[in-house]
C-alpha cells in the first residue's frame, strides 16, 4: 500500500492527474488510510502504468477506458483493441500529413523574408494574401 505521492513517482503521473483519472472513472476509488488519505496497491499501480503508456502514445481517455474494459475480459476476441490502435494510428498519420503541409508553407514564408521593415515583410504579406501560398492548407 503506497501513498498517492509514491504512486506518482513510480508511474510518472502527476498527483492531480491521478485524482482526475479517479474522478473520470479510469481508476477505481482506492482504499483510504484512517486519516482519509489514498492508499494504492501494486495492481492499482499497474493499471495506472497502462493508462500512462496509452496516454504517451496519444490515445484519448475514452479509448483508454475501452481498452481497460477489454483487458478485463481475457476470453473475448481482441479485434476491438486492434481497431482502436489502428484507428489512432490513422489519426496520427493524418496529423503528421497536415503538419508537414504547414511545415512546408511556414518554411517557405519564413525563409522568404529579406525585408528590413514591416511594410515589405514577406511573412506579413503572405498572411494578408492567401494567393501567395503554394498549396491550400
Amino acid at each position: 500500500m503506497i501513498s498517492i505521492g509514491e504512486l506518482a513517482i513510480r508511474t510518472g503521473v502527476k498527483i492531480p492527474t491521478i485524482r482526475y483519472y479517479e474522478q473520470q472513472g479510469l481508476i477505481a476509488a482506492p482504499h483510504r488510510s484512517s486519516g482519509n488519505q489514498r492508499r494504492y496497491s501494486a495492481q492499482d499501480a499497474k493499471r495506472l502504468g497502462f493508462i500512462r503508456h496509452a496516454r504517451d502514445l496519444g490515445l484519448p481517455l475514452d479509448a483508454i477506458r475501452e481498452l481497460l474494459r477489454l483487458s478485463e475480459h481475457p476470453g473475448e476476441p481482441c479485434g476491438d483493441a486492434d481497431r482502436i490502435a489502428a484507428g489512432h494510428l490513422k489519426l496520427v498519420r493524418e496529423k503528421i500529413a497536415r503538419l508537414q503541409g504547414l511545415e512546408r508553407e511556414l518554411q517557405r514564408i519564413a525563409s522568404g523574408c529579406n525585408a528590413e521593415h514591416v511594410r515589405d515583410c514577406y511573412v506579413l504579406q503572405s498572411l494578408s494574401n492567401h494567393s501567395l501560398c503554394a498549396d491550400e492548407h
Copy 2:
C-alpha cells in the same frame, strides 16, 4: 457593409468564432445596424482573412495578435514577425518528430497482434508492459 453571416461566408470563419475574436480583442467591435446587428467593412474582412490564414497555419491567437499589431506599424523592423514565424516552424517540426515516434510505435504494436483473444493481444500487452517498446516516447 456586410452582415456577420456574409462575413463568415466570405472568410470561412464561423459566426461564433468571429464574435469570439471580437471578445478577445483580435478584431475591433464593428459598427452596428439600427437594430444592433454587426456590420462589417471590407477592411474588417481583410483583417479577419489575415487571422484565418494565420490560424490555418496553426499560429496561436497570442502570436496572431502580435503579428496584427506589427502590421499596423509599417515603418518598424520586421524581425519580430520573422521570429514568430520561425518559432512556430520550430514548434511544428517538434510536433512532427514526436508524432513520427508515436507512429512508429503504434505501427509496431498494431501490426504485431495476431491473437484471437484479449488474453494474448499484443496491443494490450504492449500497453501493460512498457519494456516491449522499441524506444521511449
